[in-house]
């Protein structure tokens, strides 16, 4: 892009400001969806490139190499437009962060499908649009859940509403007719919403979305099953999910559970001593009708399956089950949990099936050993998805804040990504600046290129990103 003066930029992009981010060519704040349309429309005729941002810092590394892209800051589009208990759905803008969702949803008798203790300032819509794994797998019917419908501004300046939100009728007319933007497919012969997912804004900028919510349980109890190895816990996971017995359900190793529980650094040693080498974290719940009986039945199933697998239910440390549940049902408190061990972290995540998770864990341990990375700085988080049909395996590489440590972690992540991909890891969604060999095959690349040409023919959006790249 030809260098332009500040005056030229202000003329080309209404509301443009120089900004302080060295990795961008200034910032423009959108306050309404119409602002986004205007910004895109102006940009596409002038060669200005744009990338969306909706969360609080730290921000995506996608497109960071292209310092000529203007950041479109969507954080001021932060309305929760609707919370609908009857239909278990909410309608939010991209600037709505996880910390702003919990209280209003609870007041309506609902809760959101949260990722595992997300950053409080993380855009909820951005996380779900990235297909970030959520912690209640039994209610995840499709990998795109909990997203239902979106309204996207395309690179052409057009707006495309998806699913049943598309129409006929305005949102208000649909609400008056009893509709709540709940049909996720279409409109018509394509599933438009899926084309904006995990795209890091390369296909369009989403200005609102309707999202599935869950009934807030009237009774919920957290449980931890501990074992010395991962295998028996995987078996329990399959069984309790098959029985629909648990809501929250994920697996973590000792260091990672310690990261989650030890909000204060001085409590870390005692917490670490009290948790097992491997942990299956679950919750049992009773909703509204006969809640206690439903809850107790689920507890019986959990106890039976844990016993049958030779594992044990352990007392969650410290503060017990209520404290654990409090942690899991909210965004991260205090220092972000993934940073607690060493000050910073790098995530590596991919999809596989639960029965193969252990193989990748062994691979990770072997790789960090080969790379000379401190084994105590590795963490493992396995999140079952689609009711146990698949899972996201996440390796957490904790490191100090300095550049050298970050570079070292990146190097280990790159090696591990290559090894994991070679034995079948499926890197399905954005991964922050770690190359994965063979990730985008010819077929996938061709598909992405054609869709990009359709929605954003002048490549206004997210230069350098075509579905690959991101952060938490």
């Amino acid at each position: 892009m030809t260098p332009r003066s500040k005056e030229q930029m202000r003329e080309l992009v209404p509301g443009w400001e120089p900004g302080e981010d060295p990795d961008s060519c200034g910032v423009v704040h959108a306050r309404t969806a119409e602002d986004v349309v205007e910004i895109v429309t102006k940009a596409r005729g002038s060669g200005v490139r744009l990338r969306a941002r909706s969360s609080a810092a730290p921000h995506s590394t996608v497109g960071a190499g292209d310092t000529e892209a203007v950041v479109v800051d969507l954080s001021e589009l932060r309305a929760i437009q609707r919370i609908d208990r009857r239909n278990r759905v909410l309608l939010i803008e991209p600037g709505v962060t996880f910390d702003k969702l919990v209280v209003p949803l609870a007041a309506a008798g609902l809760q959101a499908a949260l990722p595992l203790c997300p950053r409080p300032g993380k855009s909820a819509l951005a996380a779900w649009l990235d297909r970030e794994a959520t912690i209640v797998p039994r209610r995840q019917w499709d990998i795109s859940d909990p997203l239902l419908c979106v309204d996207a501004v395309l690179g052409t300046g057009d707006r495309l509403r998806t699913g049943s939100a598309a129409g006929p009728g305005t949102l208000e007319e649909q609400w008056a007719a009893g509709e709540a933007q709940k049909g996720p497919m279409g409109p018509g012969h394509a599933d438009w919403m899926r084309l904006f997912e995990a795209a890091e804004g390369a296909m369009g900028m989403v200005v609102w979305a309707s999202v599935k919510a869950e009934v807030l349980p009237s009774i919920e109890t957290a449980w931890v099953a501990g074992a010395d190895t991962l295998a028996p816990l995987v078996e329990i996971t399959y069984r309790v999910l098959r029985r629909n017995a648990v809501d929250i359900c994920f697996l973590v190793d000792r260091p990672t559970l310690t990261d989650l529980l030890a909000v204060d650094a001085d409590r870390r040693p005692s917490v670490e001593r009290s948790v097992s080498a491997w942990n299956l974290v679950m919750s049992t719940a009773g909703l509204e009708i006969l809640a206690q009986r439903r809850h107790d039945l689920s507890v019986d199933i959990v106890r039976t399956e844990v016993r049958a697998a030779g594992a044990r239910l352990v007392d969650p440390p410290p503060g017990g089950r209520d404290r654990l549940l409090h942690i899991l049902r909210r965004p991260s408190e205090g220092m972000y949990w993934r940073d607690r061990r060493a000050g910073a972290h790098r995530r590596l995540y991919f999809q596989t099936t639960l029965d193969r998770a252990g193989q990748f864990v062994d691979l990770a341990h072997a790789t960090v050993a080969d790379e000379g990375f401190d084994r105590s700085c590795l963490g493992v988080y396995v999140q079952p998805q689609l009711a146990g049909r698949q899972c996201t395996v996440e390796f957490l590489l904790c490191h100090a804040l300095d550049e050298e440590a970050a570079s070292r972690a990146r190097s280990v992540a790159t090696a591990l990504a290559g090894r994991a991909a070679a034995v079948g890891a499926f890197f399905s969604r954005p991964l922050p600046d770690v190359p994965v060999p063979g990730l985008v095959t010819d077929a996938t690349g061709d598909f992405l290129t054609r869709v990009k040409a359709m929605f954003d023919p002048q490549c206004v959006f997210s230069p350098g990103a075509l579905g690959i790249g991101g952060t938490d």
Partner: protein, 613 residues
């Protein structure tokens, strides 16, 4: 599910019969080189068997679709891809069919389309019981897969068209509503990885199977290919051919084999231990709405659907005389506000809990149920259901119901024995719901065929709103005597993904040999499409194909123009027959225009706030 409006393409008058035969022979020779001569058909007598299709009369005005240029039966993906490439080279079109269920499986332009009959590709390639998915070829039926996976403690979603449908076709290409959606979702959302022969003949594998050879995911890396080819409706083979698909399976808390007694067409199932089938009756649409929402919230139903008295009577009976007997019983005729709910459980404790939850909901709504509860509880809840119906029909009709009800009971006692009389209704509804094997007779039998309308995938409240206005449109055509009188409200549908969304489609039964009926059904569909726009009831089941995309697009983010771009990008030579998807040179034919004019000049009066029937 059906579509109105296809191109009115005629044979090129400048091509002689001899030239056409020569062309057919050339193409057949090319196809034979791919699949072998044995698997290529060009005999007109054979080709015409592919043209006699369900709903053809409403689409074309005759009972026939157009004759294909040839039919080929490939054995595997490579052969499919070779045929598609041949079509690209020859400048002709292809269309794939598997089990088939209507005119959309046929050609709409004479002698230009090669039909790929995929019946030889009929293998279940993999059942991953642990990770709950199966990988299937196109001709694997839902019934076939269900029988295979029940012993694994798993089940598969079966679409409303019946258990003989292709699992792959429903998941990849065509709709997917069903009785089991509350626990087993919608076909398109059950799709995982696929193998896809693109319109240009490339073999593409999506998601995890492309990356690692495993089939557990169809989304990524990055945006999902499913976004291009599936959507709400599917592309009806207008965007290539799917040759393998992984579909989600669901937990099945039941036996590996369902015990069924009787013989065709009268069956009776043994409801397994810890399972309950209930016909839950309430007073009106408002209570139906509450019932649906509360049962979905409670997460107790494995199957949950709304079946109007006409449909339920049609499914329960094997011939029209018996149907008339049953449907004529006021008690049954007025059972309008009912949900069929099947509860499955692994233990008595779980079953009792779920049943008690259902009772609590029904008590609160003043409802009752006919269910296999056993003992005094069964009688108590039956009497509650009768009271609900009595409130509706009054004491006179209640008394008048007795002779007909007794007649039906005697008939059933003769067939299944006196000892099993009380379990007949729940048992039959259980079997019909779980296997979906007999349900379709409830719509085909009265006039010979049926069409459907409304049916958007929306919130339950909006689905009910659609059912109300749809019935008012249909009343106009019933009153004209061109559609079977099923009471107008014959909205069938259910819930999906734990009640996240729902659908109610307005069935319309008619005589396919009656030209007036065929024309009227065309108009009925068009008019219900108009009321869907006017009353904001979502994109209906008929919002499919070029004509309806043009109708609905302007009201729905101009999605039609984006569909056109997908077609142009992924099928630049228009080789995949997009008659029921996207057709670049589509123009409405005279019949369509005339039908639309008839409708707009004589609209059914609609009162969206009309009281319950």
């Amino acid at each position: 599910m059906s579509i109105v409006g296809v191109n009115d393409k005629q044979a090129d008058p400048n091509v002689t019969d001899a030239e056409r035969d020569e062309r057919r022979a050339e193409v057949a020779a090319g196809l034979s080189r791919v699949v072998g001569a044995r698997w290529v058909a060009t005999d007109p007598a054979v080709l015409d068997t592919y043209t006699w299709q369900y709903t053809a009369e409403a689409i074309t005005g005759s009972n026939w679709m157009q004759r294909p240029l040839a039919v080929a039966m490939p054995a595997d993906t490579d052969e499919v891809a070779a045929i598609v490439r041949l079509c690209n080279t020859e400048g002709i079109q292809f269309k794939a069919i598997s089990t088939g269920f209507g005119a959309w499986g046929a050609a709409t332009e004479p002698d230009r389309v090669v039909l790929l009959d995929l019946r030889r590709m009929n293998r279940i390639l993999e059942v991953d019981a642990k990770n709950m998915y199966a990988v299937v070829e196109p001709y694997v039926t839902a019934n076939q897969l269900q029988v295979e996976v029940l012993p694994h403690g798993l089940n598969t979603h079966v679409a409303g068209c019946g258990a003989q449908h292709s699992v792959l076709a429903s998941a990849t290409s065509v709709m997917g509503q069903g009785w089991d959606g509350v626990s087993m979702g919608f076909s398109g959302r059950n799709l995982l990885a696929v193998e896809w022969v693109t319109p240009e003949g490339e073999i593409v594998r999506s998601g995890s199977v492309d990356a690692s050879g495993e089939w557990f995911s169809g989304d990524g890396p990055g945006p999902s290919m499913r976004g291009i080819f599936r959507g709400y409706a599917g592309a009806f083979s207008g965007l290539g051919v799917f040759t393998k698909a992984a579909v989600k399976l669901y937990p099945w808390a039941g036996p590996g084999h369902l015990e069924v007694t009787g013989s065709n067409p009268d069956y009776m199932a043994t409801i397994p231990e810890h399972h309950v089938a209930a016909v839950c009756v309430v007073d009106g649409w408002d209570q139906m709405a509450e019932l649906g929402y509360r049962v979905a919230d409670a997460e107790i139903a494995t199957f949950m659907s709304r079946n109007a008295p006409s449909l339920m009577s049609g499914v329960l009976t094997a011939d029209n005389n018996t149907f008339a007997d049953l449907y004529g019983v006021p008690l049954f005729h007025e059972m309008l506000y009912a949900l069929v709910i099947v509860i499955t459980a692994e233990s008595a404790e779980e079953r009792d809990l779920k049943v008690d939850m259902l009772k609590a909901i029904l008590s609160d709504l003043g409802g009752g149920m006919l269910a296999n509860l056993g003992g005094p509880e069964e009688v108590r809840w039956l009497m509650r259901a009768v009271r609900v119906l009595a409130r509706r029909i009054g004491p006179g009709d209640l008394i008048r119901s007795v002779p007909g009800a007794v007649r039906m009971l005697v008939r059933d006692a003769r067939r299944f024995g006196l000892g099993r009389l009380s379990e007949y209704l729940p048992s039959f509804m259980y079997m019909a719901t779980v296997t979906s094997g007999l349900n379709i007779r409830g719509v085909f039998r009265f006039g010979g065929t049926f069409w459907t309308a409304m049916g958007s995938l929306v919130s339950w409240d909006n689905a009910i709103h659609g059912a109300k206005v749809g019935a008012q449109v249909k009343r106009k055509y019933i009153d004209k005597g061109v559609i079977f009188d099923d009471g107008a409200d014959n909205a069938w549908g259910g819930f999906y993904e734990g009640g996240t969304y729902a659908h109610l489609e307005e069935l319309a039964c008619y005589d396919p040999t009656d030209k007036d009926a065929a024309d009227a059904v065309f108009e009925y569909v068009f008019e219900t499409n108009l009321v869907s726009i006017e009353h904001h009831t979502g994109l209906p089941i008929n919002a499919v194909g070029p004509a309806n995309s043009a109708l609905f697009g302007p009201h729905c983010s101009s999605y039609d123009t984006w569909q056109d771009r997908i077609k142009a990008s992924f099928d630049p030579h228009n080789t995949a027959d997009g008659s029921f998807y996207v057709e670049p040179d589509f123009t409405p034919n005279e019949r369509m225009v005339a039908g639309a004019e008839n409708v707009t000049s004589d609209r059914a009066p609609i009162d969206p706030n009309a009281p319950d029937l």
